[in-house]
């Protein structure tokens, strides 16, 4: 690396921040702990002898005895532990008092990975003769070289990284020049341990200026990705945005800024924040969506204020009859449209809350609009509005029924809103495909439609079959009989 002296100075100085260490306790203390641990484990060993009553806990089956069950159990019982034990016993009185299996295996994960094991453990012998490749268990994961240097003061990057991986006492302060720091980082990256990479990055973040950190990471992609992940995790949004800006990753910059709105609860503040998102370098498609998001919330704030007022004043019939279940703030566009079709259907296009205005502003497609309006008006049982929704006049002044979503869908929606049979019938009749029509009519008990369709199809058999489904002595039965007896029809079967 060719650097000018001035640069070099800068790195040195940039290391002036308090160095990052993980564990300030000295080794003496940890040695004490070691022995305390040893004593403790001995005592436990002795205790193990006489806790027979503990072993009577059943091993069988969830929920009794499982960990998640026991949490509730022990947390709920704040009395003495003896009591708890009694309770456990009585709960398990029907299960076999299984003897707890004593640990039979001598396998121990920790003994594979850790150098030392507690006294009396099976590996202690081979530990003492640490260079003899005896025992059949762990050999492949034997003791790495690094451990012999625990007490050295001059750790190389690889030793340091090794110690970090083991979670040992380790100061990174010694790595002062940029070159040293980068060697440390490269070493950390080469062992793939995200935990260590992050630790080194924290150190670099603290001791390097932003510009240098970014510049160096730009050519070290793995470390860079870890930094991004880390910044997201600790919520350092500012540095993250700076980083995206530096890297010219504009779309991520925009999205990551936009993401923050989710944490803003106050609608006014959220709206203001969304405003700052407009014009950020999103993709062309997304730009339009972000703009819409802002406009929608702006609308919702106006509508909400207005409607809350109307509702509490108690003068408006629709709000009295159908009190609002929730605020409209932050609801999706289609939900907002439904809301406005429900409460503000007849409003002129000029108001913010009118459905037509929403449709225009957000370029809601016809299909979407009709579906939503239909659902809203059907819910209010406003059949006239439903009718009007599908009536079109052609240039000669004839009216015609037309549904961009298909009349079978209209029927389904009407049925869901428990429309009366007369209404359903009218729309079932408009379904073009005969089979679909017959199916829907049968499903929703539109007898007239079924009967007429069968007659038109000259399907005597089906009509006969349907006769058995209608009530005895009903008008439908009469109608079927009249048709069946008619000599005008040439049945096909």
């Amino acid at each position: 690396m060719n650097r000018t002296k001035g640069d070099e100075e800068e790195y040195w100085n940039s290391s002036k921040f308090k160095a990052f260490t993980f564990d300030d306790e000295d080794d003496e203390l940890s040695q004490l702990k070691e022995s305390k641990r040893a004593v403790n484990s001995l005592r436990d060993f002795v205790d193990d002898e006489d806790d027979d009553d503990l072993e009577r806990v059943s091993w069988s089956g969830e929920p009794v005895g499982s960990i998640s069950w026991s949490i509730k159990e022990t947390a709920g019982n704040s009395g003495s532990s003896q009591e708890g034990r009694e309770q456990l016993k009585s709960r398990n009185s029907f299960s076999t008092y299984a003897q707890l299996p004593k640990p039979t295996s001598t396998y121990s994960l920790s003994s594979f990975f850790r150098g030392r094991t507690r006294p009396g453990s099976f590996q202690s012998l081979s530990d003492a003769l640490s260079d003899v490749p005896a025992k059949s268990y762990a050999p492949e994961l034997g003791r790495p070289k690094g451990e012999y240097r625990d007490y050295s003061n001059d750790w190389s990057p690889s030793d340091t990284v090794w110690r970090l991986r083991k979670g040992k006492v380790c100061s990174l302060e010694r790595f002062r020049s940029l070159q040293d720091k980068l060697r440390l980082l490269e070493e950390a990256v080469s062992v793939h341990d995200g935990n260590v990479i992050t630790a080194v990055l924290i150190f670099l973040k603290r001791t390097l200026s932003k510009e240098i950190l970014f510049r160096e990471l730009e050519v070290r992609q793995v470390a860079l990705r870890h930094l991004i992940h880390f910044l997201k995790e600790i919520g350092d949004q500012k540095l993250l945005l700076d980083l995206f800006r530096f890297l010219d990753r504009t779309e991520e910059l925009a999205l990551s800024h936009y993401c923050e709105h989710l944490n803003i609860q106050d609608p006014e503040k959220r709206k203001e924040f969304l405003k700052t998102c407009i014009g950020l370098p999103f993709s062309a498609e997304d730009s339009a969506h972000i703009q819409d998001h802002y406009t929608l919330l702006e609308r919702q704030i106006i509508i909400e204020a207005n409607d809350r007022h109307l509702e509490s004043a108690g003068q408006t019939e629709i709000f009295r009859k159908h009190p609002r279940k929730a605020s409209i703030l932050n609801m999706p566009l289609v939900t907002t449209l439904f809301y406005s079709c429900f409460y503000h259907y007849t409003e002129a296009e000029g108001t913010f809350s009118s459905p037509v205005n929403l449709k225009k502003t957000f370029k809601i497609p016809d299909k979407q609009y009709v579906l939503t309006a239909l659902a809203a008006r059907a819910k209010l049982r406003a059949w006239h509005d439903v009718d009007a929704l599908f009536t079109t006049k052609n240039w000669l002044g004839y009216t015609k029924k037309r549904a961009p979503i298909g009349f079978h869908r209209v029927v389904e929606i009407l049925h869901k809103n428990s429309a009366p049979v007369q209404i359903l019938q009218e729309y079932v009749n408009l379904v073009e495909d005969v089979d679909t029509k017959l199916n829907l009519a049968t499903k929703f008990k539109c007898h007239d439609v079924v009967i007429d369709t069968c007659r038109d199809l000259k399907d005597r058999q089906q009509l006969l079959a349907y006769r058995s489904k209608v009530d005895k002595g009903s008008a439908e039965e009469e109608k079927i009989d009249a048709i069946l007896n008619s000599s005008q029809i040439r049945w096909k079967n």
Partner: protein, 596 residues
């Protein structure tokens, strides 16, 4: 207790015992009475390796879930936090510790990170001024948890997102560590195959870790013949489709968590004459599902359409067995009958449970909507109409079906078309944002980045080539007596499992062209064994392959692999490992952006 772990070709109880022992060792380090404060997420996975009795045996008297403010009172010497290394949990721990300090008698605090210590978390504890309060800060490398005799999972829900969205290698590192543990217990795996970027990295890490540990050779006779590492993003298709095996459907409909499922209680109400309808239980029925239950082991991997006949056959066998009592005349016969009773009663209980579950599932699978959805999925997978807006998906959006369902279908269409035409993609996006909220822009972006939902590049659709070469779509599928893995999706053969199948016979050389189309490198590594440990296979003896899914695996894929293991002339038995047991819904959910 965990006998079902040892039924398979590889005795996974050895692993379970090893992790249990490590847990005991840690508990013994904290002498005296203890209370454990649990990161709630961990209780599920821990439940698979230990029960409360083990903890109690080591003086654990109280257990709480980790919550803000103060700890519940507990008269114990030690308070141990069992947590995942996550920053937000550190904040809660600090709150607990600080309020406890003010309260009175000094306690010993300890913290056990699962599966790894995190320097970042310890730094956070330090910043909050509580790091010094902890006497033991250790890690518990519960990397791979044995779920069944042939199944291991890391249960790391964020793994896919980390690997494929954020390119963070931490979970890969854990996977490599888990594999090192397995090799320590079951011997060096002589051959490693892999496909995908993450697979390559895990293999590199393993090789490096092996090099780092100097000293002796592993002298355990190798149990596994080879390891196959597979990236989830090599096969994005399979998890998106609805699983049609019994276990797969239980998971799709009710969600299996750590081998337990919670079911609506109505169907499980005890039937007593006279008081029908009274006192219906309101709490969900919780059942454990694994091969320890004989009947479940038999039916879990079957196509759901084949489950009914097995259940009715079982019912006949069991009632015949109970009828036997009339034939028991002599004292000896009666005694024999009585001795069989517990077994018979267990079988009857098991049959009753699964009949109820099957009924619940049938209610769903016979619904019109399920049929419509399945039809669309199968059209996509067999390559029909994948390049235009699908009217069923449109309807789902219009009727505001759950967003995850919609996303799953749109992603499936995209994957089966090597990306959607820009116009189609824009249309779906707009419909979704307008109906479910603009903030889902973030989720859509994530799906795009993961390759699940994207515009078609260069106007080329590679899926038909992949489908034909790997025979992913089979028209004549036998659900009752399957002859091919495609039975698990009633026609679609999971790509991932097909790759495994072709690797074992005739080898990947035959599909080089397709392997090049699929993302990431494919490779082979050898780990030399000392001559004494080299295996001489007996004629007719099957190989054992450990197949590791990086980024998650579904129950249907597991079923397909078990099917291959059981083939008479298959030649290979599989042990399956993964970062997470998942299905399409939980997968998409893990990619959705939520407020932090």
């Amino acid at each position: 207790m965990a006998a079902h772990l040892s039924y398979g070709r590889v005795n996974l109880n050895v692993l379970r015992e090893a992790v249990r022992r490590e847990l005991r060792e840690f508990l013994d380090k904290c002498a005296g009475s203890k209370a454990i404060v649990w990161d709630e997420y961990l209780t599920g996975p821990f439940g698979l390796i230990a029960q409360y009795s083990l903890l109690k045996e080591h003086e654990v008297e109280k257990m709480f879930t980790l919550k803000g403010s103060r700890l519940p009172t507990a008269d114990v010497k030690n308070i141990i936090f069992f947590v995942r290394p996550r920053l937000e949990l550190m904040d809660i721990i600090a709150e607990n510790v600080l309020s406890e300090d003010r309260r009175g008698p000094a306690r010993d605090f300890h913290i056990l990170f699962v599966p790894r210590r995190s320097l970042l978390c310890e730094q956070r504890l330090k910043d909050l001024g509580v790091l010094g309060s902890f006497i033991h800060r250790e890690e518990y490398s519960l990397d791979l948890i044995p779920f069944d005799g042939d199944l291991l999972s890391m249960e790391s829900e964020g793994a896919f997102k980390e690997c494929y969205l954020e390119s963070d290698q931490t979970s890969l590192y854990h996977a490599a560590k888990g594999l090192m543990t397995l090799q320590a217990l079951y011997g060096t795996i002589p051959q490693i195959f892999g496909k995908g970027e993450c697979a390559r990295q895990v293999a590199n890490m393993m090789i490096r870790m092996k090099r780092e540990f100097t000293g002796s050779q592993n002298s355990i006779f190798p149990v596994f013949d080879n390891l196959l590492l597979l990236d989830r993003n090599v096969d994005l298709l399979t998890p998106l489709a609805t699983q049609l095996t019994y276990e797969g459907l239980i998971d799709e409909i009710y969600g299996i968590q750590n081998s337990y499922v919670k079911l609506p209680p109505e169907k499980f109400a005890p039937k007593k004459q006279g008081d029908a309808g009274k006192d219906l239980p309101t709490e969900a029925k919780k059942l454990q599902l694994n091969s320890a239950e004989e009947l479940y082991a038999e039916i879990r991997d079957k196509n759901f359409n084949a489950v009914g006949s097995v259940l009715s056959k079982k019912a006949k066998v069991i009632s015949a067995a109970f009828e036997e009592r009339h034939n028991a005349k002599t004292v000896g016969e009666i005694k024999q009958f009585v001795s069989q009773l517990p077994h018979m009663q267990a079988a009857r209980g098991s049959l009753a449970n699964h009949t109820s579950i099957a009924e619940l599932i049938k209610d769903v699978t016979t619904s019109e909507d399920f049929f419509d959805k399945l039809t669309v999925e199968q059209e996509f997978m067999s390559g029909i109409d994948t390049d235009k807006v699908n009217s069923y998906i449109e309807d789902c959006i219009a009727q505001k079906h759950p967003l995850i369902k919609v996303l799953r279908l749109v992603c499936l269409q995209s994957v089966c078309n090597s990306g959607l035409k820009q116009k189609v993609l824009d249309y779906y996006k707009r419909e979704i944002l307008q109906t479910y909220g603009y903030e889902h822009i973030l989720t859509l972006y994530n799906l795009e980045k993961a390759g699940l939902l994207k515009p078609q590049m260069g106007g080329r659709n590679n899926y038909p080539t992949i489908r034909k070469t790997l025979r992913l779509w089979m028209d004549d599928v036998n659900e009752q007596n399957p002859t091919d893995i495609s039975y698990v999706y009633s026609g679609y053969a999971p790509l991932s499992v097909r790759l495994a199948q072709l690797l074992s016979r005739p080898g990947w050389r035959s599909i080089e062209e397709v392997l090049r189309i699929l993302p990431g490198p494919h490779f082979e590594e050898r780990q030399p064994l000392p001559t004494g440990l080299q295996k001489k296979r007996q004629p007719g003896e099957n190989r054992v392959t450990l197949i590791f899914f990086l980024g998650g695996v579904t129950f249907a894929e597991i079923a397909a692999l078990r099917f291959l293991s059981q083939l008479e002339d298959g030649g290979t038995e599989y042990v399956i490992a993964t970062t997470k047991l998942m299905n399409g819904a939980s997968w998409i959910e893990s990619l959705m952006e939520k407020p932090f």
